[in-house]
Amino acid sequence: MAKSNIETDAGLNVRMVITGLLLLVLYMTIIGVLLALKLSFTFVIVIAGAMLFSQYFFSDKIAMFSMQAHEVTAAEEPQLHAMVDRLCLMANMPKPRIGVAEMDMPNAFATGRSPKAAVVCATRGIMNRLSDEELEAVLAHELSHVAHRDVAVMTIASGVGMLAGLIGRMAMWGAMLGGGGDSRNNNDNNGAIELVVWLLSIVISIVAYLLTMALSRYRELAADRSGAILIGKPSVLASALVRITGDIGRIPRTDLRKAEGMNAFFFAPALAGGTAASLFSTHPSLEKRLDALSKLERELNGHA
């Protein structure tokens, strides 16, 4: 077994590239529309850029704050640190900061703009519920998110939706207020154009949203795969997933609603019940993730 190609899942790669290309097309479309209509939405782009940049730059602080997580030292959580230490050594990556959120909901997330500025965070609930081996698998999954630079990727991906949304809102106000102040030559015509822009931007943001969610699901599968390969035992990650999703369903909903905005960062989504349309979900269904992991297990065992 000299050089294995276990790292890549060709099908997943293809789907990810297609999603990425479609998002790129959307970016082109939106910029094309702006140029064709000669609308001066420069400052929209500046605002969107600033929002995205801050989201990207402060992602660790935002996520830690909204989860009420605090950073822990090696003295406070020796076991968590020891696990991450060894995983990082094996993966040959810098060790991220480690946080703990004092909440009972079993989950974990990784955030931070680059592997050097990353934070991996686990809730007290996940640490209590999982066995050491399973917790390690979850941490490996989160470290894979860090290594894949998922915060950067998802920021870029979600940019098009945000841009379209902002432009749509501007156009809507423009249409309602009758064309804006700077171009008075033809008010009716201008209003019509802005209506079109508004409708178009709604369509674009919906498509962009669906694409971003799809990309997020693919990134989850990719992190599952890399994490499982890192620990060498896909089945352990699978059992962690089963245990956590089972537990999340059993926890009162009030706690979950508070955390739903954080879903994109989580190890398992904080949605109770499996009825949420899979198209709108940041995470693949448990079934899909388990299938992918058992397929990987078979590949590792040489029965591909």
């Binding site: 077994m1 294995s4 276990i6 790292e7 890549t8 997943l12 790669n13 990810m16 590239v17 990425g20 076991q79 020891a82 696990m83 060894r86 050594l89 094996m90 993966a91 040959n92 592997p115 050491d132 081996e133 390690e136 894979s144 290594a147 894949h148 630079r149 998922d150 950067a152 990727v153 693919y218 990134r219 990719a222 992190a223 795969r225 890399s226 390969i229 890192l230 620990i231 060498g232 035992k233 896909p234 089945s235 297990e297 590792l300 065992n301 040489g302």
Partner: protein
């Protein structure tokens, strides 16, 4: 991590740098003259066994795989509280210890465990302060170039 690895969301498995071990016999001489540290004759190799490498699932499999001659070397396998396996070797001669550990390394790499080799540890005795251990990281990063106390 290249751009394409980021785009595809994949990580390359990291192969270990086994040659780091061979810096030890020379360093041991320096340690002996400079700090009065002598090899204790114990060494350990830390790695994480996974599923997949079907021949190396149990401790007995690992032992038979490594094919150690009974007798001169005492070799045992232990599992620590983080689930990592330790191959523990004893041999009075440091050069031989290094060679044995290296061959164990190579066997594990051949069986696909390369990315999950963590470190090698060698024990030393000092006159003043009992035992100390030198950790040799087997990863190809900056740390791996140094011998860490």
């Amino acid at each position: 991590m290249g751009l394409f690895d980021t785009v595809f969301g994949r990580t390359k498995q990291v192969q270990p740098k086994l040659d780091n071990l061979f810096a030890l016999p020379t360093a041991a001489l320096t340690l002996r003259t400079g700090l009065d540290l002598v090899p204790s004759g114990h060494a350990g190799l830390c790695f994480k066994a996974g599923s997949g490498e079907s021949e190396v699932n149990s401790d007995a499999d690992i032992m038979s795989l490594l094919n150690f001659e009974a007798g001169a070397d005492a070799a045992t396998i232990a599992t620590d509280d983080l689930g990592f396996k330790w191959l523990l070797l004893t041999n009075e001669d440091l050069d031989e210890l290094v060679t044995r550990l290296h061959s164990a390394n190579e066997t594990l790499v051949e069986h696909g465990l390369g990315p999950r080799l963590l470190c090698a540890v060698f024990g030393f005795w000092g006159c003043g302060f009992g035992c100390c251990h030198f950790y040799l990281l087997l990863e190809p990063n900056e740390l791996g170039k140094n011998i860490k106390l």
